[in-house]
Every structure is written in C-alpha cells, then in structure tokens.
Symmetry: D2
Subunit: 399 residues, 4 copies
Amino acid sequence: MTVTHHPAPATAPRTGLWLIGARGSVATTALAGAAAVAAGLHPPTGMVTETAPFDAAALPPLDSLVLGGHDTASVPLPKRAETLAAAGVLPHGLPTALRAELAAAEERIRPGAGPEDPRGTEELIAGYAADLAAFARAHGLARTVVVNVASTEPAADAGAPLPPSSLYAAAALRADCGYVNFTPSTGLRHPRLADAARTASVPHAGRDGKTGQTLLRSVLAPMFAQRALTVRAWSGSNLLGGGDGAALADPAAAAAKNAGKARVLADTLGAVPEGEVHIDDVPAMGEWKTAWDHVAFDGFLGSRMILQTIWQGCDSALAAPLVLDLARLVARCHERGLAGPVDGLGFFFKDPDSGPADLSAQWMALLELAGRLAADGAPPGGGGGARNDDASPAARDGR
Amino acid sequence: MTVTHHPAPATAPRTGLWLIGARGSVATTALAGAAAVAAGLHPPTGMVTETAPFDAAALPPLDSLVLGGHDTASVPLPKRAETLAAAGVLPHGLPTALRAELAAAEERIRPGAGPEDPRGTEELIAGYAADLAAFARAHGLARTVVVNVASTEPAADAGAPLPPSSLYAAAALRADCGYVNFTPSTGLRHPRLADAARTASVPHAGRDGKTGQTLLRSVLAPMFAQRALTVRAWSGSNLLGGGDGAALADPAAAAAKNAGKARVLADTLGAVPEGEVHIDDVPAMGEWKTAWDHVAFDGFLGSRMILQTIWQGCDSALAAPLVLDLARLVARCHERGLAGPVDGLGFFFKDPDSGPADLSAQWMALLELAGRLAADGAPPGGGGGARNDDASPAARDGR
Amino acid sequence: MTVTHHPAPATAPRTGLWLIGARGSVATTALAGAAAVAAGLHPPTGMVTETAPFDAAALPPLDSLVLGGHDTASVPLPKRAETLAAAGVLPHGLPTALRAELAAAEERIRPGAGPEDPRGTEELIAGYAADLAAFARAHGLARTVVVNVASTEPAADAGAPLPPSSLYAAAALRADCGYVNFTPSTGLRHPRLADAARTASVPHAGRDGKTGQTLLRSVLAPMFAQRALTVRAWSGSNLLGGGDGAALADPAAAAAKNAGKARVLADTLGAVPEGEVHIDDVPAMGEWKTAWDHVAFDGFLGSRMILQTIWQGCDSALAAPLVLDLARLVARCHERGLAGPVDGLGFFFKDPDSGPADLSAQWMALLELAGRLAADGAPPGGGGGARNDDASPAARDGR
Amino acid sequence: MTVTHHPAPATAPRTGLWLIGARGSVATTALAGAAAVAAGLHPPTGMVTETAPFDAAALPPLDSLVLGGHDTASVPLPKRAETLAAAGVLPHGLPTALRAELAAAEERIRPGAGPEDPRGTEELIAGYAADLAAFARAHGLARTVVVNVASTEPAADAGAPLPPSSLYAAAALRADCGYVNFTPSTGLRHPRLADAARTASVPHAGRDGKTGQTLLRSVLAPMFAQRALTVRAWSGSNLLGGGDGAALADPAAAAAKNAGKARVLADTLGAVPEGEVHIDDVPAMGEWKTAWDHVAFDGFLGSRMILQTIWQGCDSALAAPLVLDLARLVARCHERGLAGPVDGLGFFFKDPDSGPADLSAQWMALLELAGRLAADGAPPGGGGGARNDDASPAARDGR
C-alpha cells in the first residue's frame, strides 16, 4: 500500500486539488475521506489508485494533497460534514475527529459567481485564474488539478455566454492547472473552448463520473454483445434525493446526464435499444440513490429473457474516491508532461473524451496509463502487466 | 455471416456432434436450433461463433454437423420437441417444420446404460466407443465431438467405480473424439482419468456451462475488484423446474454446481465473501429459471451499499447455442491438431480447466484462440485483433 | 362451480355484452376466454364471479352472454386472436378451436366514428344507441351491458365537445343498457353527463380497471397504515408495449391513468407521499407489462426501510376476466332493478365512483353486493357472510 | 394521541414489562424506544396502539411501563444500546440521552439459567416466578406482562424436559402475569402446558411476531385468492445477520420459523403452493434483513405471471414497537379480567392461537378487541367502528 500514514517529508512537493462546488456532498466527502485515509483511520475502499497496479505510478501521496475550491453555497464545510454524518454518508465521529482539517479547508474556499454577478466572461475567468494562482502561491504547490463536482447545470446553448462550468474550465487552463470535469455539465466541451482544450499545455479529462447505473451498464452491455444476445429494450429509473436529485429534476440537466448513459449502450451494443431512463427527485432518499434497470433481451430462437438490476448506493461515497483518483492521476500526468485530453481515463467517465465504452477495455487502458506514469516508464506491477497476475486488484495488499 | 443456408458441398467434410443426454432439453434445443438456423428460419442469436470475430476461424458450417447421441430416457426427440414448444422454449411450429430432421436424429440415438446394467466399467467404455465409431462410419464423418449435456450426477466418490459421465468421457478419448463436459458432473476430472486427459491426442474442454447467474458474476465481480469496492457478502437463490431442478434438488449434485459458482468469486475477488447459493426445484417454473443475487459491498469510508440482480431465462435456450459453439470450436481444434485441454475456452464454463475467471479476460483469450484457428493463422477479423475495432461483436454483420 | 358447460336452456334469457374497442386485446381475450371457459376448455382462473361467494348471486351464465361491440380498428377478430396467441396471451390452438365463435362475433361489430366523422354529438349518440337496439333485437337479449375497453383517450377539456368515451356512455344510457368504464377515459364522468349518470334508470360502474400496480398498492398501502409505518416516498415505473403502451405515451392519457394510481395512496395513507409514476412505451414488451414500485418508509425511531415490488403480467389476461365479471354483475344489478352508480364494485377499479380504496374493504363491499343480488336476497354462501367461512375464495369448488 | 409526555400521576398504576432476552436487540430497542417516545424525543412510528382506533382502549400509558427481564447474556444494556446505535438501529445520541433509563433497567435484569444449570424444571420455574414477584413488589406494579423475545430455540422434542421458553411461560402463569411469545420457540405451546394455557387465569398470546416477509404474505396471499388468481409457487429467501441470523442457521430453529411462514399461505390460499423458504445467516448484514419473495401465478387461460417483492428492514425496529403494543394490550386485557388465549391479536403473529390468517381480517378483529377494552365497552373511535371512518389509521392525530 502506498499510503504512508505519515506526513510527507518536508521536501515532498505538494499538489493542489481545487474543487468547483467545494462545499457540496462530493467535495466534502472527498476532503474528509482523504484526511481520514491519510491518517490511517479508514482503509482506502473505493480508491482505485490505492490498488496494487498503481504502486509504481508515482502518484502524489494522499497526504501531499492540499484541498481548496470555489463555491456559491455558504454552508461551511464543518457543518456540511455534520449533515453528511447524520445522513450516514460519513462515519459518525469523523467530522469531530477532522475538525481542524475541515476548518482549514473552509478557509481555502473562494466564492464563485452567482447568476447576478455583474462581471463579464473575461473578468470572471481572470478572477478565477487569480484565485488559483493565489492558492498555489499560498501553499507552495508544485501543481494543481481543478475538478468540477458542482451541481449539474442545464445543457448549454451554443450561442449564449459560456456557462459557469466552462468559465472555471477556461480559468484552469489559463492558470496552467490540470482539469477534470466529473459532472455532465459542459466544462471544456463548449465549442468556443474546443481549440483551447485541444492545444492545452496541461492534461485534462472528462466527462461525467461513472458511479452507479452506467458503471453496471458498462460491464453488462459487453456481456450481452459477447454472448450474441440481442438486447431489445433497456429501461431505467433512478430515485435520488440530495442536491443532485433536485438539480436533475430539471429536464435540461437530466438530458445532459442521460446522453452519457445512452452512449455506453450505443458503443457496446452497436445500436441504442428501446427504453427510457428516468431520474426522479425523491428528497426522502437523502444522499442515497436507487437505480433500477430492466433489460429485455432475446436468446436462441427468439426466446424472451429479462435481466433486472437494483443498485442502492450513496453517490457521494462512490464519487469521492474517484475524484481523488483522478486528481492524483492528472497531477502525475502533468508532472510527466502529458497535455491535452488524457487517454486511458475512460474507466472513470460516462462520456469519456475518447476510447472504448466497455469497462474491462477501459480498465486495460487505465493499466497502460499507469505503466506510462511509472517513474521508469515500466509497466505497472514492475512486469508485463499481465492481467491475472500481479496487476490484478485482487492481488493488492491486504486482500 | 458465415451461415450459408445451403447444404454444404458434397466434398465438404462432415462433423459429428454426439450428445450425452441426447433426448434432453438442451440437446433437443441444440438440434432443432442448428437445423433452424442452418435453414435460415431464425437468426443465430446466442451463438458466439456466428459473430464477426469468428468469420476467419474456419469452423465447420452449421449444416455440416450431424447430430447423434446416447440417452437413457425413452421419450423420442420429436415428442420432446413438442413439449419444449408447448413450454415456450422452441417456437411454435418449429417441431412440425423440422419433423424430418428430428426423426432422423432420433434414429441416431443409442441407449445409455442404466443403473441396473450388468456390464463392468471396461465393457461400458468399449461399448460407447463402438457406438461412436459406428456413428462416424455410418455418416462418413471427418471427426466427432462428444458433448455431455446429461442431468447433473452426484459428486463422485474417488474410490467408487467411474461415474457415468466419466465412462462417456473415457469412451470419447478412446474413439479419438473431441470431448466437452457442459455439466458439473465429473467427466474427465476423475482422478483415474487424469493421465488420459493430460496426454489425450484429442482436444477437450470443460466444465459446467456458464449460462446465467455465474455469467453475471463473471462480469460483476471484476467490476467490484477494479473499482476497489469490498464485497462483504454475495448470496444467491435459483428457482428452476424442468429436469435440471429435480436433479439439482439432490444436495450432492447441487454441491458440484455450487463449487463452480463460488470459484468465479474466489478468483476475481481474491477471497470468497460470505453468502450461500440455493438451488430450488420449482416444477411450476417449467423450463424457465429465475436467479436472484444480493451483493452487500462497502464503499468509501465504510458506506454500505447493495446490488441485486434478477435473471429470468431459459436454460436450454441459453445452453444450446453454446453447445453448438463448443462443438464447432473443438472440432476445428481437432482439425488443427490441438490436443489436451484447450486454452481459451474458459469463456463458456463456470469451472474452466485453466485461465482467468473474469469474463472479459476470457473473451480476449477466446479471440486469441479464434486467431490461432484461422486457416492462415492470422488473428481474427483479419487484422490486429484490436478489441474496439473489427473484432467487436457489435461490428458483426447485421447489427 | 356455476359454469354448466352446456348451452343454456332455450328458455334462459340471453345477455348482451357490448364492448367499445371490440377488436382490441382485452375484448378479444374476453371473448375467446368466455367461449373457452364456457366450453370447459379452461378453468375460470382470474374470474372473481366464478368463486364460491358468488354461487347464489344468480349471475347470467357465461354461455348466455352474446358479445358484440364498436371499434374503429379494422383488423378482424380472428386475426387479432392469432396475434394474441403468437404473443403468448391466448393459448396456442385456441383461435383455431374457436374459429366459429370468433367469426360470429366479428359479424356483430359495428364501426365506431373516427376523428374525421362529420356527424355531430347528438347524431353520433343516436347512431350508437340504434346499434345497441338492433343488437338486442337481433339476438333476443333480455338486457345488454356496454363496457368500454378502448384505448385511453387524452384527458377531456370540459369546454370541448364530448369525447368519444362519453358519446358511447351516453348512448348506453339512452338505449337502456348498463354501462361499465374499464378505462381511465372520461365516459360518464363528464360534467355534461353528471345529471344523466346520477338519475340513470340503469346501473353503471367505473372507472379504470385495477389490474396490476394499483391492485398491489391497494393491499400494501393499508398494511403500512395499519402498522403505523410512515411511507415517505412511493415511486413507480411501468414498462408496457402493445397498444396501451403507445396510448399512454401521450402525457395527457398518462395523466388520467396516474390520477387513479395516486388516489389509492391518498385514500389509504391519509396523504400522498413523495414519488412519481412513469409509464413507458416499450414495444419490445409486446402484450406484457412490468411494474416496479419502490416504497421508502420509516419504522420505529426513524429507521429507514424499503419495500420493492416487481409485477410481471399480461394486462389483457388480467383485464379480460374482470370485464366478464363486471358485465355479469351489472347485468344482474339491472335485472334486480338497481340503477345509478352501483355500490360495491370498487374492488375492480382504480378510481371507483364511491367507497373505500383498501382492497379488503372493497372485497367486503363486493360480498355484500353479491348477497343483495342473490335470488332470495340472502347473503352469499347462504349464511352470515363470515369472511373466513364459506365466503372465502379458498373455499370455492375445486381449490 | 394518548402519549402524554408527562410522568404518569403518582396515583396511576404502574405496569411491568418483563422481557425474556432482556439484553437482546429487540428488548434494548423496545426499552430505548419506550423511553424516547414517552419523553417526546421521537414520534411513535410503528406503534399500532398509538393510532386513533386505540384512543379509547384505556391502555397503560407508555410512561407507566417499568421494564425488566431475564437474560443469560452478560453484555449490559447501555453497551448493547451503543452497539445498536453504531449499527444504525437506534438513532445516534439516543443511548447517551437515555443513559439513566438504560442503567436503571440494567439493574432490573435477573440471570436466566444456562444449559449447565443443575436445577430441575420445578426449581427453575419457581425461581423465575419468584423473580417476577420480587419485580412487582419492588416497583409497586399493578400487574406484569412477560414477553419472550429471546433467540429462537430448536424445535422441542415432546419427550424431553421443558425447553427454556416453556419454563419462562410456566413461571409467568404461576406468578399471575400475562404472557406473550413473540418468537417461534415453544413457550406455552408445549403439550405438557396445554391444560395450564387453556385454564390460565391470565391472558396470553402468541406465537412468532409477524414483522416482514410474512406480514407481506398476509396481505398478498388474500389478494391472489380474492382475484381468483392461482398461485403455483411461492419461494422466498431471507438474508439476516445479528444474533437472529446465527440462531436461525440452526435447521431446527429455522424449521420452527418456517412453519409459521407456511401457515399464512395455507390458510389464505386454501393449499400450500410449491416453493421453499431459506433463512441465511449473513453476518455482514448486521441488524438488517433482506427478504426476497418470488410468486409464480396463473391468470386467465393459463397465462403465466410473476410477482416479486424485496423487503429491506431492521427486525429489531420492526419488532420493538409491536412488543410494546402487545404488552399494553395484554396488560389491559388482564385489567379487564380476560383470561386464556386472547382473541383478536392474530394481527401481530405469524402463527396465532386462533383466528384468520388474512391481515385485513386480523385488523378488523383487533379493532373489535380495542372496542371491548374501552373503558365503557363502546367500540373504538366512539362510534360504529366503520373502517373507513374515524377508525382508520389514516385518521389518527398528526398524520
């Protein structure tokens, strides 16, 4: 296990993780979790970069991360953490144990611009970039990765001003920071940012973290394809509360999210089957989510069969470790001089910049990236990257 | 699509497919399905070997297969086919459309030995081998593959006489036939057959076709492992009628089957989680099966999450196309001179002779085998075997 | 069992059952089923009026029913029956066995008015009433019950002309026929028909047959209420193909249907919990329907619990026997001189004219009605109507 | 609402609630919950006797209950409560808030006899009865109800000595205490206690609290029967951790529990359908339980349909309020002079002493009992007991 549970030596470079939506559920969970895992209070369950295949990738240690961010919300981090503990997302007692860390991070949050802000596009980008530069200076950071975990915004109209997610993305590039869009919002995918994204001198990745229903689809759809079973209809319903439920009750926001969900089926099945996906705001669900999928498929001689799945998870707890994974990977890419869209990160996204939609193919691509990131350029695990060998997650320490 | 829908030219070699349990549901469905697909009455849904990656593998055409077999049951094939049509497994009208083929196949079935048969082990093996030789002679077969699809027998006691499945397996080797064990029964895995299996001059493969719950597990378990999510308990219940339900109501037979189911979890998760698997005989289910799985797993910071799956399928319709796939692949291995346990067929089995337990890794291994089988030794699809390229099932004709 | 399996004696009065939507799935299944059960080809599974509590209610025998109806569709009944058999709704072979009955019924179907029909409201009502009178004359019917089983129409605008369902309803009253609205369409519930409905000289009942998800809700919601468990959210998704799926894909039609679904929760829980209901048109489902319900409820000390239900059924097969039940009950009400909305039929409807929403209370009310209908006015079962006595369905013949 | 949230007046009689298994999950939850609800910290969710129909039944107020009990376990109540709070059964903070109450109750627990206890049957009964008498004296109790909530014991052999549950039951009768058996253990159902149970001068009730899967079955099975739908197979799987999971992993204990589960189907369907029930010990589930049910049923013309239910609950949180309900009801029965098995409590039990198996019929019987218990003998709600009137739970205060 690469977590050392000790402060990084004074000479170790420090890496910034700047969260857009820094007082939200995902950011709070990421922050509390990074501190808790670094302190040895909890095992790194759910963190892909803490498994054996990444041992040699020279990723920044968890305890070298410094977290800050922008937010338009005003509930302070320590209070937000208490709310998450009451909802069962964070362990009881953790907000108290991490009181100092939460308060320190709260000090590092800068206000985002609300809808009434009089500043124009250029002013806003410049202001955000200045915030990022100040953050790096104040904490002596070797580099910073900006990760968007803010509420999903409605699908952008190409003619309108840049949406907030795109302003933050542009600021990241301007401030020479890596960038990750963990939401379905536009971010770097705006037509007016296409050139900047392609020619960026920093690495970036997106879009829309793959945490539940689509994660499942990315292993089930290839199974149907490989077995030559014809999927006739794939229908889904998602029930979720929290801020995400309310945000996605906006049909425009849901449309952005559903586009990502459909892509995995189109790419792996060769065609989009019948069926819709619903996202319902159910405040009584709190931070928990239930996703039901119903797959009607044909077998031999037209026999009709059905697979149903029910996924009951906590989105913040699923997303937070992946946010940490992505920040570490993109920071290391930056350190190794990679720039532009990073190949090999589709494993984390519903709607990746490139690459296959099949989770296992994405996993292989991620392992290749880990190999490229290794200090000596050797494949991960120090050997041939053989999948059922020491590159397997099952082989990681402590399993 | 390699199916020609025309009789093979007179000069084409014919391949025998000899089914142990030739009057059972799987065998009847395989026989009716092979005829229906070869005649162009139905698309080859569920047949892996009819997808694009196998186009160049030079497998025996479906209409070059001649089916026969052993059985101890006496209900003739045409009547069994009618029963399956009434149960919704075969399309209505198909038994009538294939009356001639079913009657011809019925003529090629030889009686298996019942429990009261006075013959000893050696006599039985010799008798079965003679049946195989006669079958080849009568139909001018280039080669024959024996596939066991008989009801699961109780786990064998090493000290006892060879169980029936092992007698048939030994006969296959003696008659120089390829052999596939599609059931959890002992077959070639008997200690007294270990040497013969290892040094066989013919290819063989097993054990226990992966058609439903375990197929799902072989894609879901790697997902949990790759995402570093800790599976705490994996519990399952299977409800099935038909002959299989009754056979598996015998705890000894269920034990054989459950061993295979557990293996996929152990191999992919690194440890067997808590949880049991039940197999219930529910005659009201007829030929249909429902499998419920409940996976309790931990996410970040110990958050508790649950995945449930419900699979409703028809085992015969799932198994039959795979039986045809295996027969074609093993026959081609035989033709190419491969002998002993065939690498690359784990994709089809719960308890494969070798190789990974993860379905996507098994798929890659199967594609490699397809490449080795190609007439010119080139990789499948005529190119680099790139997974998201023309080797993808989504790229196959007609999708 | 009251079914005699013999033609009614020549002197027995004949009862007409006039179906609006007579060539649809429900009507075709009702017609084929009535003939099949009357002929002894199938047991009366799903027919409430064939259970013991109705033995003494003097309902018209199944074989005394004469079926006819209106439809705007042109696919003839025998062909429609073949389609339903291919879809697994009707048993294979039944359309052939009932060829004569289907052809005869087809002759008794009259065209309904399409949207382009130039006739005005009064003309249409008069025309439909004339069709009903001609039907009664031609077959010597003692009385006729009109049952609406046509596709759901969009919710009516009070200012607009009467919608088709209301025209047929008005025609039924004018022709002195009993009337049942088995759909969520307006029917007699139009404000301009309120007086006519209240003062009708014939019995009528509605609205929206309760066949699946709402049936379940009408027993589950009372359970939560009686156990003092607080339902926080009740969410549902329905996947259905057939004509019904397409009709309900129209949001206006879905709104009519969902109003009925919500009512059962409001009435039994005392408040409508959070949660939406989706109805998806999934043509691949054919005549089959899947309904998933997710109920989040609180237990003692605020503990969070969840109940999920998955109902997989065939709407036509669920609706058809209830249509026959209602026709027989309303015909007998007519014979006994009951007029206006019939108390005691809420058991069959999502949105009944009156009475409780709890299925068991509706069942008690239905048993009371059966008692009132008995020839001698005595309660059903010849005794005190005690629920766990001989009035129990479990006590009916042959169970 | 009858809860006053104030201490009972000094002159109010106090009622004892003596729990067999007083340090277990159910008992601890009941104790903490009674205190929390009486103090106004939580609403009485899940307590049937706190709904409107019981307003006039003159039940002992919650804050007049004094809890004590026997247990062979040694983990003290305050520590057990902490464990339950960590598992999410009790709200965080509640054990601290109720520290004084928990400590006081811990003082009132007496040791039960372990398997090595040298005392004979008569000595044990006398000792337990003496404990009950001392409890009543010490706290000035008007009367006491003994409730068995101990782990399920293996099915008793009629020839063997009385099992522990029967010893405690006999002691209750001897000490003139009401008795409730909330478990599937033998209790008063032992042949050698049959005479004592029948001629008891105190009221008693049992057996096996109905909290989850069987509760559902008791509303679903009547639905199938009333709709004349033929249930062909009813299969179930239960996954549970905690002490109950381990106890029920013993096949003999499971047999006792499953007998109760089967009874509700036999009584309401008229016959026991195919299908098994499994109870799996899954320690990872902690205090939570998942029950999956699969019901295969036939509709009209033999169409095959399926209902599945998934119940995810916490048994302690479901059982505890019912334990308080039963204690209050049986205490009031005792006060009113009722003796022997109490009619009208089948609502609470899987395997009731008498009465119907259908939940709604049981609810009607319970309402009748509530009427008999009212101070003036009038029906509940002060009126005709009309079900959809003011006797409805939906009409209770505050809902």
